[in-house]
């Protein structure tokens, strides 16, 4: 059974010509699936979350969460939903414990009967129980926010960029927690701007300008990459970027860590050595290395939307 279904969802703001969310067709998130949404800032990720979390109404289209309509049955949805906004939005003038108690009582629950769900996360917060939430570090705040959105054992969890501004080890911990929750059967929808995190999802939707460009498992997305991809280095990386972009066989060139990644145009009949040779002789680059590589998720992401 599908946990979340979306049908032609559309939402515009004010007189802005382009809709913030414009999903044509049907999409579904299965029960117990870890569903990732990746996309640049302004892609419409947060708006989509807010629609699904029943905070705003869509202009057109319908969506269901656990079989409940997001407009008609919003009150029931709110009892089975956990939502963690991108911005820290707990009471900074209440202590860690008080925040947790408050959000438990909001859902008519108490902490003790629901503690197994959050125990793994909360054990790290326990030494700071009496501290005001506003005085926690960024990673601790995120942990507390996660605890508060899990305290009522929701069946669906929405996390809007949960790892933005969190250190790498806390990020890893958070993803371990999410995997654990998924294994318990919870449906989790998470948005992120980090590609390495997208790899941990069961399904990834790449989002841009309010639309899902692809929805697939990370391995299938990578497998579907149909261009030749080169990794290029030289001693003058800055000029190299410009020179590569000026070559007629190159479709796209972008920086990737300490190398440049280049995709070649369809049917461009050039060899790796041919490009390396031209960069040396025609453009005067030294220390040139060109290798043909297989695509990562980030390469797929960078080449989206040009099709």
């Amino acid at each position: 059974m599908d946990s979340i279904t979306i049908h032609n969802l559309k939402k515009s703001f004010g007189r802005h010509p382009l809709p913030a969310v414009d999903l044509e067709g049907d999409f579904a998130v299965g029960k117990g699936e870890l569903f990732g949404i990746i996309g640049p800032d302004g892609a419409g990720k947060t708006t989509l979350f807010r629609i699904l979390a029943t905070l705003i109404r869509p202009d057109e289209g319908t969506a269901t969460v656990e079989g409940l309509d997001i407009v008609r049955d919003y009150r029931t949805i709110r009892t089975i939903l956990g939502y963690m906004p991108g911005k820290f939005s707990l009471y900074s003038d209440l202590s860690v414990r008080e925040n947790l108690e408050f959000f438990a009582s909001v859902f008519g629950k108490d902490i003790d009967s629901n503690s197994d769900m959050i125990e793994n996360i909360y054990c790290r917060l326990r030494p700071f129980e009496k501290r005001k939430a506003g005085n926690l570090s960024g990673g601790m705040k995120q942990k507390l926010a996660l605890c508060c959105s899990l305290i009522h054992s929701p069946s669906v969890l929405f996390l809007d960029e949960p790892t933005t501004g969190v250190d790498p080890s806390s990020r890893r911990e958070l993803w371990e927690n999410l995997a654990e929750l998924r294994d318990r059967g919870m449906t989790i929808v998470v948005s992120t701007a980090y590609m390495d995190e997208a790899d941990r999802c069961d399904t990834v939707a790449m989002m841009k300008s309010g639309k899902f460009l692809t929805v697939d498992s990370p391995s299938d997305i990578v497998a579907q990459f149909d261009r030749r991809l080169l990794s290029v280095r030289s001693d003058d990386m800055f000029r190299l970027l410009h020179d590569l972009r000026s070559m007629e066989t190159v479709e796209k060139c972008y920086t990737f860590g300490d190398t440049h990644h280049v995709t070649l145009k369809d049917g461009a009949d050039v060899s790796v050595d041919g490009i390396a040779g031209r960069l040396g002789s025609e453009y005067g680059h030294t220390g040139v290395t060109v290798r043909e590589i297989s695509a990562s998720l980030e390469d797929c992401y960078m080449n989206l939307g040009d099709k």
Partner: protein, 365 residues
């Protein structure tokens, strides 16, 4: 325990968790009621007078003495010419000039009339007019004294001031300050608290929970309403025991009107919070309206002394009715029967503003 219960507990934890807020709650009525009436005093004392005595006679010296004996005036300087005295006035070293004409004693001795000239600095209009008035009455009584028998004028006016026998501005002011307490605690506090939750995004977390938004708003209004009544009680106790107001009872009238006004302020604050997304916005809006409420409704200056058009405006301000009720009950000992019109108008305002609050609130959500 229902949703309302734990929302109230949350408000209380937030409010009392911060030591600053409870202190404000106590200090606000204390300072307002004890310090402000002393400072904001309209009584005129120690008016500085410059005397230009061009007569230099026994009679002119007697007149000068009489002026300074009164206790309202202090000598600033003695000048020879009016122009020199005017210079002093221009520099702000003196408030009033008294010019005694040359040959006054002689003229009066012959049975003629001499004119004493008084010039008052009216930049501070109260000081100018009241000081000038005091001074001319001193001169008049002095002239009665020298014109002989003292009963030369057959009619004498003996005024008696009812309800405020010593015409103390304090007593006029204190009921108005009790209103300020309700405006601040019952109106400002819940509005700012709602807008803070909007600004910080905590309202989002509440919105995705099963808690109804109206319970959420209502918990704040009720919580700060209770605090408002508490602060009002402090100020009422001070009004009663320090200033001796409401000595004839009227407790019920005072609290009923305070409750109605509190309901009005809560509804008003809700409208403001509906339309503002940031704290700054709401503070500005609130301040603007509260200033109009305060300055144009006869809280600090009598309505009867306003321009005609602004007298009509006061009918549109609920504070006018509330301050009427408080003054009438505190100073005159009036009861419900005497104040029907004010109570009805205040209730109408509370009902209308809350209806508007509910309508605008629906539109927003």
């Amino acid at each position: 325990m229902g949703a309302f219960g734990y929302l109230m507990i949350k408000e209380a934890k937030q409010f009392f968790g911060n030591p600053f807020m409870p202190m404000v709650l106590i200090l606000l009525p204390l300072l307002l009621m004890l310090v402000v009436p002393l400072a904001a005093n309209m009584e005129v004392r120690d008016v500085r007078v410059t005397v230009v005595d061009r007569d230099r006679s026994v009679l002119s010296a007697e007149l000068t003495d009489r002026i300074f004996e009164s206790g309202y005036f202090v000598p600033a300087s003695y000048e020879d010419t009016y122009d020199a005295a005017m210079d002093e006035l221009g520099r702000g070293n003196t408030d009033i000039i008294v010019e005694i004409p040359e040959g006054m004693e002689r003229t009066v001795g012959r049975g003629g009339n001499a004119e004493i000239f008084i010039a008052a600095n009216a930049v501070n209009s109260t000081k100018g007019s009241i000081g000038g008035g005091y001074l001319s009455s001193i001169v008049t009584s002095f002239s009665e004294g020298i014109s002989g028998a003292g009963n030369s004028l057959p009619l004498k006016v003996v005024p008696q001031f009812k309800y405020n026998p010593h015409i103390e501005y304090k007593l006029f002011m204190v009921p108005a300050l009790m209103i300020v307490v309700i405006v601040l605690v019952g109106g400002f506090f819940p509005t700012l608290s709602i807008v803070t939750e909007k600004e910080k995004g905590t309202i989002e977390q509440i919105n995705v929970s099963p808690v109804r938004k109206r319970d959420f708003i209502f918990s704040k209004v009720v919580f700060y309403g209770i605090l408002g009544i508490f602060a009002f009680t402090i100020s009422f106790l001070i009004a009663h025991f320090v200033y001796g107001l409401a000595s004839n009872g009227g407790l019920l009238e005072i609290y009923v009107s305070a409750m109605i006004f509190l309901v009005f302020m809560a509804g008003f604050g809700l409208i403001i919070s509906n339309y503002s997304d940031t704290l700054l916005q709401s503070v500005f809006m609130m301040f603007f309206f509260v200033l109009v409420f305060m300055l144009m409704s006869g809280i600090f200056t009598p309505v009867s002394s306003m321009e005609t058009w602004s007298q009509y405006v006061t009918y549109c301000l609920p504070t006018r009715y509330f301050v009427n009720i408080l003054r009438a009950v505190c100073l005159k000992g009036s009861s419900f029967a005497d104040l029907q019109f004010d109570f009805i108008m205040l209730s109408v305002f509370a009902a209308v503003i809350n209806a508007v609050a509910v309508i605008t609130y629906r539109k927003q959500s």
